[in-house]
């Protein structure tokens, strides 16, 4: 990028790896938290057999209701908490087996951006000091060089030099989120995990941060795992989207395929509920019943059967596997081909005729 660059970007790339192999591979990941005070064996099944791959330079979205296990996946991948079982490789290296120097280098290649920028920064440190910490931890540059790197990164994320000496309380949420993203990128990671990066922001800040992330993704060729419950954010950012329910992936597809042909009943409810100005208040009514069950004791058979409007006897008896529903499209429902026969409900996919005036007028 520029002449002065003490961080060697390629340091962690293993030239021997197959360039066509997926960059991130997660296989049968399980994370159970034991419940204190309960007999052994009783646990919260936060993540229960999750597998996915992310190609180099791809953005994979992970969406689902609160408590379904999205952040747990992020924390396990970042080695902030150990998995119960399962394998994850990044650039063909086993993430969970790394130790010592290899682990330290891995921490440079993978970075996490949290939801709450206020919590991610120490209120007693200036922005500049906070951003220099990871550089110092990895022994990069001298004080003077670190300062230059930070100032350059502030500029890259759209903040001027005055932010270097400011404290978090002197900045807005959106500005702090830029700082947090900039800090994560200082180590020139290959793989970025963003856990709800815009949920704490309002509409204008949200678009600024999303533009920034997309711009940086192109400039730094980042591979991204994007976690959000906002399907509109997903639709803009992601190449592929995985929908989670109670610790499992229930549907994965290319972005457009997912929005145009959602197959799983839960995905359909999610889409209808998030596009209120296009579909109105009534479209999502009746697409979901009951309350989210506890991950302590997930329902038998299809985990979604207590909330599914298409559920029948077989659903509570048979454990569901991910089935192929098209090219790169999988769905965890044995009846996915027959849902529309049973009910009048149709998937809503934002076709123009069904849109409310606002969306129509503004997209014209």
């Amino acid at each position: 990028m520029t002449s002065y660059d003490p961080i060697e970007r390629n340091l962690s790339r293993d030239k021997g790896t197959d360039p066509t192999a997926p960059f991130v591979v997660v296989n049968d990941l399980v994370k159970h938290y034991p419940v204190p005070g309960f007999p052994r064996g009783r646990s919260v099944k936060s993540v229960d057999g999750v597998s996915f791959v992310i190609k180099e330079g791809e953005v994979l979205g992970l969406v689902g209701e609160s408590g379904c296990g999205k952040s747990t996946i992020a924390r396990v991948l970042m080695r902030l908490t150990p998995p119960t079982s399962g394998v994850a490789t990044v650039d063909a290296r086993n993430v969970f087996a790394m130790k010592g120097e290899e682990l330290r280098r891995m921490r440079r290649t993978m970075q996490l951006v949290f939801q709450d920028p206020f919590a991610a920064l120490d209120p007693r440190m200036t922005i500049g000091e906070s951003m220099e910490v990871p550089l110092a931890q990895h022994g990069i540059g001298h004080a003077r060089e670190r300062r230059d790197l930070v100032l350059r990164m502030l500029n890259d994320v759209g903040l001027d030099a005055s932010f270097y000496g400011r404290y978090p309380k002197q900045c807005s949420g959106g500005q702090l989120q830029r700082v947090v993203i900039g800090r994560a990128l200082l180590l020139k990671p290959w793989f970025l995990v963003c856990d709800e990066p815009t949920s704490a922001l309002d509409a204008s800040m949200r678009t600024q941060i999303l533009n920034l992330l997309m711009d940086l993704k192109r400039r730094f060729s980042l591979t991204i795992l994007m976690i959000s419950h906002d399907l509109r954010v997903m639709r803009y950012m992601c190449d592929r989207i995985a929908v989670m329910y109670l610790g499992q992936i229930v549907e994965v597809a290319e972005r457009d395929e997912l929005f145009e042909h959602p197959r799983h009943p839960y995905t359909r409810a999610l889409i209808a509920s998030s596009m209120l100005e296009e579909t109105g208040l009534n479209s999502s009514a009746g697409l979901l019943k009951g309350e989210a069950p506890s991950p302590l004791n997930p329902p038998s058979g299809c985990r979604f059967h207590t909330r599914c409007i298409y559920a029948r006897q077989a659903c509570s008896e048979n454990v569901q596997d991910l089935l192929q529903a098209g090219d790169g499209h999988s769905v965890r429902c044995q009846f996915w081909e027959h849902l529309d026969d049973v009910s009048q409900q149709t998937a809503r996919s934002g076709d123009d005729a069904s849109r409310e005036p606002m969306a129509r007028a503004m997209s014209a």
Partner: protein, 355 residues
Amino acid sequence: MIMEKSNSAAKTNPRPGEPLLEINNLQVSLPDAPHVKPIIDGINLRINAGEVVALVGESGSGKSMTALSLMQLLPTGLKATSGKIIFDGEDILAMSQRQLNHLRGGRIAMLFQQPQAMLDPTSRVGTQVAEPMRIHRNVDRTAAKARVLELLGEVGIPDPSARADCFSYELSGGMAQRVMIAAALSANPELLIADEPTTALDVTVQAQILKLLDDERRKRKLAVLLITHDLSIVSALADRVAVMYSGRIVEEGPTQRILNSPQHPYTKALIQCSLLKADKDGNLFSIPGGAAQARDLDEGCRFLPRCVTAASANLQERCTHLEPALDSYNDCCKARCWAVKPDGAHSGAHEARRP
């Protein structure tokens, strides 16, 4: 008009379509920090009986402080320094503590973003839902008990008699917000103030709660002041919308009129942002700069540092020195902008906003 109302002997509540609440030139400031500009600076807003009015605008624009003024619940340090808030003919800002207590939770109810934080963890759900009707409507214990079960059922809580005996921490976020709605409706209020009532909830739960609010307000002819920064919620729920920017209302009118043909540059930009639609280069529309810039201005339009219209409409000079007033531009909408001409006839230059 207001005089007439308070003089009328019979205490008949306003009927649908008649003004229920009128905010006149409200100003909220920090009296101990005179150099800080007022946080709310001359707001006028009317809510008719049975009407849902949405207050939108970016973080920090003053939506919550407007809502809290209505109940005289501003945080310490902040004070309504001028203006009037007329509720059914009487000025809330001039009321005694007794009158206020009578109003809060009675004729005016409130709903907040974090339901769990608002419910009392030491008291049972049923007791909390019963409280407003017992205090404000003199309903006796047995009648209240029956009415609570009815209400809990109405807001979609399965098995109301079991849930009435629960504590709030035993409830999910969605259930807790339903309980809050039941408690808010308990004394049969005329005005509900809802500050980001679904922001903390999952999208699927959010859609259910919004539907419930919409059903209840229609059934009860309840007026609602709905605060949100999500325009899809506004579009789905509100009759009228007022757009706030830096402590002022910059545009106001019927929801579909405003969302379909916004006139103020900030409203246009806000709508563009909310849609998250990318242009051909893959960029999302975003408003340059931040709201903090408005606080540094001493004169002129507060939106100027971020406005693309001022330059293209050749208004830079006027916008820099003179602040526009909130003027009607057609029979039902108002905007605070020099570039907006009556009847929506724009000064021609607005087409030049970002591609």
